[in-house]
Symmetry: D2
Subunit: 309 residues, 4 copies
């Protein structure tokens, strides 16, 4: 097992990738995200033996955004079982952008996978809970278990801001409601979804989630099983086939580590027999992936030959 | 000018087309429509000289549904001018079904024309009025002017029923709100739109609207101008290129009369130098057009060589 | 009947629209077309009583290009009957560009109409004749009849040049061959099609074809029927719904005269109770329509209130 | 390392999956394939230490069909380098069927990946060689190296039959020729491609190719490097993201082993730290994958926990 990555190595890598932060742009569709500092870079590794190493602005908290799709999928699968979930959301990757709607018009009109927005909205709709707050409460409890950190909550300003401007997600939800893929109130599902996306973590907490997934769903420190192994595997599989928006294929070629990115500029990576990795760098490329996150994971994969392929 | 179509000729035609009523199906997506009697057939012609002839169940009132798109377009054009309207809604026909959304994903993301649902919703959004009731009130006043009949209102049961189940139209509206094609409240626009679709008329009132359009926008009896001539022409043009859903092209070939159909089973036709024609027969073909309406207009066109082409 | 358009009026209009020639670009995908002079403008009107008026560079000969689609459709309908033709090619307009292929992937996989390339290629495939030369020979004979001018032939340089570079049309043909819409040799059909597109006329000859169509298919001078009336009508209907590429809808709104354009910069228009109109001006807008042709027909339609709507 | 799968275990698995052969259908688009016997099942495993185990009708030879896409990709990458190849063919998975063309109409108009037909045709076009026979000769030499078996050739009947009926592939090639993705003669590229698809192997030879890929591109027995390690990895990555047509995503979830299928009913799988696996069973599901192959790999993966995720 590789374990020789020290903080000074991580610091050096951060220095190497820092210039790329200016090749991209911070997400600007809501004020809270647009205020992010493109120079706030951070990285953390959580090894399978419980050791952790970190570098950069590790105290910066950021919202999960699309990374939350992996976690809500795990919970929805635990709540409903595989067949219920995959009757409503497909398993196939797609070359379309995350916000795409036109595929829903094809038969059968279900979202191609749970990592595009339509699929993720349907997944959140399936999480057990009578109210948005109950759903989000259950998701937060789940994340508290995943991280052994009960302080994690969601950023209300971000959640409110996204809720107010989420016209496209409302469009996707109503489309799916028409086709009986989602049930109940669109506004309530969207409320839960925008709060889910606004859950705030730092790289250390995120790397620990990655380590738990790499450990087959068991917490590394307590040995407690949080996610059944086969469901943790499903999450990692989707991270490979559809985790990096419509750059998932090229990321698999160039990096080959299961990873999920979010428009806050964060990336969650999980590698069996290694552990969890989290990177933060809010400058995004045109696909919505963290420029620095991609570079850093590419360096790491190439240096230690970490591709799963 | 042709004027030799008598009531007994119309009755005979109705008898000829009656059997076709069983080739289609009454719209069943809301209870009020599904209760329509497929044998309730009616036809009316309003000549340019003011004479009118009618046959069948002419007292049956039906909701305008998509026929209202022509009328709301006229009002929106009068309210906003051509360039404002056509900056937001295109002029091109499409081979897509009326409910289609995927075209909106193409650049520029505006509805291809005002006769598909997306375009018609955007048109209703443009009608002046601070509230849905004000918009609908103005539209009803406009229809009162068009028909010289102030008794026309909307069917609340149909409006409410359509409003409650209009998930797809909400999806289209939110999609367009995301792309700044519509402004304001989606629910309010939908409220206005479903009331607009639920406006109730009989074939005689509808034929008079057709006659007014054929007369270049002037009321035949009073000579009063209700719609500017160039806007009446625009309406008739869209009736030809996109009036009969994705059967508009074949209808133009087979019949060649400007016409707009609605899923209540009604058809409004307008022919320069002839007058207005309205047909009612609630049994629909798979495109959503009245089976009997199509047959009857085909007979009429062929018998009197009425195609504009 | 309007007949007061003199040569000096036409000259004046040409002067008015001449500056617009520089708003577009001459087709440049083959050398022969790219050598066209954007200042070579010409217009001709052929009235229903046989009189004709013309202005500009009327001796310039140009290739029919897509205008030939109307003529080949008439011949294919006469050769095969309506039901055979429309079993293989649809009647619906489309908002897609003329070269589009993706619609063919939808069910049923037949071209939406005979004015887009896929549909026109299928139509040429249906023209009777054992060899490309026999098909083209029959089409030329037909055009000789339409114009009463046996000198019309095709431009071999243009035909050869288009044949050699027609990869997209080969793609469409093979796609349709896969789906049994076309039969026989793709190369032979393409040979016939590129020769058909390369048939050369001047505006006077073209205006006469327009007059014959306006006259219901009968030659104006001899009274001889060349095209059955209902088939001439079908041609004019397609000219309205799909004659001007994906600007057909806006052309119908703004001009309202049945017309078909070609990328050589020519437009054929046909108006019942008026006659035929032909315009030539090789500078094209981004849709592929003659900039000057559009302007001139718009002036003509507005000045004399010629819209059929 | 797992090595306890004996021939009797394999035989037992074949017996278990045999009934599923009747759930699918043998490919019937060419006579040679339609004559396959759905009961001819075979499986072979080639371990990384060089040992091999096999069961069923292992002497049956079948054509590679789409499995050849992985091998031609390796050769094209060795011939041209990564940047040349991926400038012309993308890296992204797609939810579309293998024969799909409409994506090419999107910008940029290059095939989404090398495993769909369009991408594979472009790859074959890039293989060095002045003639189809030179390309195919080089590909066969490469396969001789991969298998250490110089007897492997292609089935002329299958190649000829596919060549004659490959209208859709011609359509794709001409489309790409129009967009400068492929160069040279379409017929010659198709000739090379259909011969490539018609290369015949048995499961033992195929499993050895899988083992070489699992061994990072080095022959297991001689230690000779045949494919650079990073290119072998690229091949395995595409096998995961797009190897099983539009069922790649669900196969990754359910099985999680890099694999490529062909419509002959064969599957090539390659698993690092394990070896190569080949299955043959000509009965196909509606996606074009071997019913028995999928079942057998699912059993194997679940029994030995082989998913890479």
């Amino acid at each position: 097992m590789i374990k020789d990555i020290t903080e000074s190595v991580l610091e050096e890598w951060l220095d190497n990738v820092r210039p790329y932060a200016y090749d991209g742009q911070v997400a600007n569709y809501i004020p809270a995200l647009s205020r992010s500092n493109p120079e706030d870079l951070a990285v953390a590794i959580h090894y399978l033996d419980g050791d952790a190493v970190e570098a950069g602005e590790t105290e910066v908290r950021f919202t999960l955004q699309s990374i939350s799709k992996v976690i809500s999928l795990a919970l929805a699968l635990m709540d409903n079982g595989e067949s219920y979930v995959f009757d409503r959301v497909g398993m196939e990757p797609t070359g379309d952008p995350f916000h795409s709607i036109y595929r829903l018009e094809q038969v059968p009109s279900k979202p191609l996978n749970p990592m595009i927005n339509a699929g993720a909205l349907a997944v959140t709709n399936m999480i057990h809970g009578d109210t948005p707050d109950e759903k989000v409460g259950r998701l937060l409890s789940f994340i508290h278990d995943l991280t052994d950190d009960h302080s994690i909550g969601y950023n209300e300003e971000v959640a409110t801001s996204e809720f107010e401007s989420a016209f496209l997600n409302r469009s996707l939800l109503f489309y799916m409601k028409q086709h009986q893929i989602v049930t109940g109130s669109v506004e309530e599902t969207l409320d839960a979804y925008t709060k889910q996306c606004a859950i705030e973590v730092n790289v250390c907490q995120l790397a620990r989630i990655g380590a738990l997934l790499a450990n087959g769903g068991k917490d590394i420190h307590s040995g407690r099983r949080i996610i059944p192994k086969h469901l943790a595997r499903i999450c990692k599989t989707f991270m490979v086939t559809c985790g990096m928006y419509d750059a998932s294929g090229s990321f698999a070629i160039k990096v080959g580590i299961p990873a999920k990115s979010g428009v806050s500029g964060s990336v969650l990576a999980s590698l069996n027999e290694f552990g969890g990795i989290a990177v933060y760098g809010p400058s995004l490329d045109e696909k919505g992936n963290s420029v620095v996150g991609l570079r850093l994971l590419e360096i790491l994969s190439n240096r230690y030959d970490l591709s799963i392929f």
